[in-house]
């Protein structure tokens, strides 16, 4: 299965459909999808490295937690990430992220929601729809 995302019409908020062959790829593509909605443009330097731990209770919670973490860095530290390295541990996912200061973007997303979120495992990979509060 290839990987990608597409925007889905939502009356008030923003919604994307994301698909990828495995869960860690799904996280990467979902991050790109969210950044794409925000039209983020990053500087080319200086590079910024961040590491964070996500609890792994269920896949959907980890996905929402991951995107919420990225949203925090956009709002609080004005950083967008380009590269991710994932290190699964027992009940946790360690994320090493490399990013750059934000040059420009649309900062309308308030939060990543759990609304109707369900990662479905199809023959060709994983699919999920994510609604962002705008």
């Amino acid at each position: 299965m290839d990987a990608g995302f597409e925007e889905i019409d939502h009356t008030a908020d923003w919604e994307i459909k994301v698909w990828a062959p495995d869960f860690l790829s799904l996280l990467r593509v979902a991050a790109n999808g969210m950044y794409s909605l925000m039209e983020l443009e990053l500087e080319s330097s200086p590079a910024v490295n961040k590491t964070f731990l996500l609890p792994f209770e269920d896949a959907e919670s980890t996905l929402v937690g991951f995107l919420s973490e990225l949203l925090y860095y956009v709002d609080a530290e004005k950083i967008g990430f380009k590269h991710f390295s994932f290190h699964p541990r027992k009940n946790q996912l360690r994320v090493e992220a490399t990013g750059y200061p934000i040059r420009s973007g649309r900062f309308d997303i308030k939060a990543v929601t759990y609304h109707k979120i369900k990662i479905t495992n199809q023959k060709v990979g994983l699919t999920v729809r994510i609604v962002f509060d705008v």
Partner: protein, 483 residues
């Protein structure tokens, strides 16, 4: 989609989905709408979301949906649900991420014609004095101790700093300060987001709008509120910024396991909740109140900054450029209130999401000077259309837990809106209609085009027809500043 024949018509403006519609519903859903608005609402998920809300434990009466309803995430926008404090739940997602997003209206004695003469200057000054855009830093950078004070004092913090007057405070819902806020319930991450965002507008549908009172329907009430036909007004729409967003995010995440602990069945994970009286529920309420107080203080500081902008433009040109507060009211909030439900006084946690409190005459919760007329209800339009000032009625106390609509309500998605018009084109069109626009993002402006919203006049006719509010005045937009 719920078929139209599953709705029971109560009157021309009131409909009901009985609790027998779905097995897991605990109470009915009552919708304030004309048949036309009701049919239009079936195009999105708002009704399904309202039915989902009706499954939450401990609900009192019915779930109420306002005519400006539209699909949200979990809880419909325009929804009101009251859960009994004794055995009900509090749901962060049912209050929303932008805790105490709300509207403040200020009135003036400045003649509307002056806005045409000095419109550009005023737009530039408002944009300069009131920073906008998500993550945009304000002029105020708080220490952590000061932020905790803001959480506890709300608008009172601005009063102590000389950025408010006594009338501002009195004419704010809860006098701009919810009791029992506890900043110790807030994560360090949320605290870090609250440090530098006070006095900023944000983006999305948040705005500052200079308008002119173009019609008065209740002379006594309008005079009491300080509004006169032909004079300028200023409306401020914003909330608790990244501080509130992070608090809600934290608790929605935490409550994913809380619902399992209390064995609460929910049809949508965004409706996670905790019993109101549980330690988890009380902790959320204490954090939510802190964010609500932050939002009250934020709108107060924006009002102060807007006054500075007005002064910079009008000082020396007219005698009185002052802006006096009409009212400030939340439309994303959870409040502990007592309502008469089926003849019994019941203490409930009222969740209003995209719905405004609208207490009727005589309520001790509204300023003494408004007790004979009812609480002002502020209903912003959509840049090109009117905004409304209404007053709460005794009917709202009987039918909607003292609640009313909060705006026009979206009808087109953001992409549909962008496909229908370009930002530049919209800015020019509105300019030709006499509405001056200053927007941080032109695509963002197109997403908020008037055609993306319902007809606000129709929404107002419903709440008036259903006797949950009455008309006081209509305001025509002249200058809109968007983040």
């Amino acid at each position: 989609m719920i078929p139209l024949n599953r709705f029971t018509k109560i009157s021309d403006f009131v409909w009901e989905i009985p609790s027998t519609y779905r097995q897991d519903m605990r109470v009915p859903v009552r919708i304030f709408a004309t048949q036309e608005l009701l049919k239009a609402s079936l195009d999105d998920l708002s009704m399904e979301q309202a039915v989902n809300v009706a499954t939450l434990p401990g609900l009192a009466g019915q779930v109420v949906v306002m005519p400006d309803m539209h699909q949200g995430y979990g809880f419909p926008i325009g929804g009101v649900a009251a859960s009994r404090v004794s055995d009900g739940v509090v749901s962060p997602g049912a209050i929303g991420y932008d805790i105490n997003c709300g509207v403040r209206l200020l009135a003036s004695t400045i003649p509307g014609e002056l806005a045409k003469k000095h419109g550009q200057d005023l737009a530039i000054a408002l944009d300069r004095f009131c920073p906008s855009g998500v993550g945009k830093e304000g002029k105020i950078r708080l220490s952590e101790a000061e932020l905790r004070q803001v959480c506890k004092l709300g608008s009172g913090w601005a009063l102590k700093k000389g950025m408010a007057n006594d009338q501002d405070i009195v004419r704010t819902e809860e006098e701009g300060c919810l009791q029992e806020a506890d900043p110790m319930s807030i994560s360090p991450r949320a605290m870090s987001r609250g440090i530098d965002q006070l006095g900023t507008l944000g983006s999305g549908n948040h705005f500052l709008e200079v308008g002119v009172v173009d019609a008065v329907f209740d002379e006594k009430a309008a005079t009491q509120m300080g509004m006169q036909e032909g004079n300028l007004t200023l409306m401020i729409h914003c909330g608790s910024r990244g501080f509130g967003h992070q608090i809600c995010t934290d608790f929605v995440q935490q409550f994913q396991s809380t619902v399992r602990h209390y064995q609460i069945q929910i049809p949508d994970r965004e409706l996670v909740c905790a019993p109101v009286q549980s330690p988890e529920g009380q902790k959320y309420l204490a954090a939510m109140r802190s964010a609500a107080n932050y939002a009250f203080c934020n709108r107060q500081i924006l009002a102060h900054q807007a006054r500075e902008a007005f002064e910079s433009v009008f000082a020396g040109k007219i005698k009185n450029w002052g802006l006096t507060q009409v009212y400030d009211v939340a439309h994303n909030m959870g409040k502990i209130e007592t309502h008469v439900i089926q003849g019994q006084k019941v203490k409930v946690c009222v969740h209003r999401k995209g719905a405004t409190r609208a207490f009727g005459p005589g309520s001790p919760a509204i300023p003494e000077e408004y007790r004979s007329i009812g609480q002002p209800v502020l209903v912003p339009g959509s840049m090109g259309t009117a905004s409304w000032v209404l007053a709460g009625t005794s009917g709202s106390m009987e039918h909607s837990f003292g609640s009313c609509c909060h705006g026009a309500g979206r009808v087109l998605s953001r992409n549909q809106a962008k496909r229908s018009i370009r930002g530049e084109q919209l800015r020019d069109q509105l300019g030709e209609q006499g509405v001056l626009i200053k927007a941080g993002s032109l695509p963002g402006l197109a997403e908020e085009a008037p055609q993306a919203y319902k007809d606000v006049d129709m929404v107002v006719e419903v709440v008036v027809g259903a006797d949950i509010a009455r008309k006081v005045a209509r305001i025509k937009p002249l200058i809109v500043i968007k983040g």
